[in-house]
Symmetry: C2
């Protein structure tokens, strides 16, 4: 383990985000408002169940409320949309998170887009995506926002840097590319059809891995001095970046666990508090 | 002038798009429908007035209707939005084009977003942008769609190619980056803050210039064999690409005029016919 490297401590960034929420949650409580996140889980994916539980616990620890809607695997798109509509209309709910992925028979995009934009704290709606791409979203997707929060916390420069994003999903690769671009990075978005991927990653001053494949990014892909952010969360708590190898060339790097993950959850809490404030204005 | 190069003939692509509309316009006329594009021009920008006139004339030549709303320079955002609302509600209007740029005191984003999505044939709304980025827009922005149409017309491969886009505007650089990405290009989006721009452009198998600076892209920035698309339209009908210099290395290249421009207008007409069909379903 190399020690002269900047290991980007996601727990520390998450704490700083959560600390800033304490007083805001108190202020809301004076108005009789407890920020409330509703999580919707469809089916029996054990990893998803764990994520949902973690999010609920994180709410509790901050004195926020969370409600959990568990729907059976056989839920139709229509039933799921109806459940979301109910949460949209519930004045006690400020944020709605539909845990991804939903079972394959469901139209996930339709379900995401059923979420009222004022409660789209996970930044998954189509409209929210564009607002983020244009730089004025209230709630950018949480993992991209977490990546930006880590860069900001450690004062890592973005402007004029070449950022290489591996992945192009609607809730991760695409929005983080947009956010880096809006902060004046030059952005290359790579994916499964990219040829010469290693050569492109080697150009990156900032490398974001959002692939969903364990230890996918190899040590010799990293340009000396690069900043490496690992948004992967694969089985067994393994990131998309081969940390032990990539830390050699990197100037700064997020570990897994204790990297992007906890900041994502803290960002979700922050967005829920933001939503509670905005909805009570 | 080198002659063994593929000069991408925008007039030809535009004709093929317009030819395919003739029968559809006839079919609509049997139902008593004449596709109608409403153009909205605020202020006295002579270039904008020319574009609006060209678009109106193009409609006329195809037997389509166009109406033109001219608003004074002093128009407020509220007044402009009200004018757009009227067009939204007018069943005789199928497409609405707000000519860009509007005077600086107007909130252009608010004005764009006032356009009903079913009539947003120029693809300028925030929601339409995201639908396009996610690959399911009815009406992608016309210039990006025109660039894609040229690549398709000439069977130029996109999948796995490295596309370098110079520019990141909401109606050009960003959406064309998204469209190339959705067709499996690896996409690098560059802009005014990009460092080492020439080196990055030299990586491009496909280069899209959307800068708004005459003859900005130099000949030695082009990788031998690259496809060069010039979305620029600067004063005096000068593109963003130094054509005479860039044609040397390029495999294929759009000229200015008679490149992307006419295809953009043909795309606008196509979208208006699409909208007339969809609205009359």
């Amino acid at each position: 383990m190399v020690t002269d490297k900047l290991i980007l401590n996601g727990n520390q960034v998450a704490e700083s985000i959560k600390e800033a929420l304490v007083e805001r949650i108190q202020q809301l409580s004076h108005k009789g408002i407890v920020p409330c996140l509703a999580t919707v889980l469809v089916g029996e994916n054990p990893a998803s169940a764990t994520y949902v539980r973690m999010k609920g616990n994180a709410c509790k620890r901050l004195g926020m409320q969370s409600i959990r809607i568990d729907l059976p695997e056989a839920t139709t798109t229509k039933e799921l949309v109806a459940a979301i509509q109910q949460l949209n209309d519930d004045p006690g709910v400020h944020g709605i998170l539909l845990q991804h992925p939903v079972p394959a028979h469901i139209d996930e995009r339709a379900a995401f887009d059923a979420i009222r934009i004022e409660k789209d704290v996970d930044g998954v709606t189509t409209l929210g995506y564009a607002q983020n791409a244009f730089g004025f979203a209230k709630f950018p997707s949480c993992t991209p926002a977490a990546i930006m929060a880590i860069l900001a916390y450690y004062n890592l420069p973005i402007k004029g840097k070449h950022a290489v994003v591996i992945g192009r999903s609607p809730i991760l690769g695409k929005p983080v590319s947009a956010m880096l671009l809006n902060q004046d990075a030059t952005v290359t978005t790579c994916h499964s059809r990219t040829t010469h991927l290693e050569d492109l990653v080697r150009l990156g001053d900032i490398v974001v891995a959002a692939v969903g494949k364990p230890n996918f990014v190899k040590g010799d892909w990293i340009k000396p001095g690069a900043v490496v952010l690992d948004a992967g969360y694969n089985e067994g708590n393994i990131g998309d970046v081969d940390f032990e190898a990539c830390v050699e060339n990197a100037y700064a790097i997020t570990p897994v666990p204790a990297g992007v993950g906890p900041v994502t959850i803290a960002t979700l809490l922050k967005h829920t508090v933001d939503a509670a404030e905005l909805l009570s204005e």
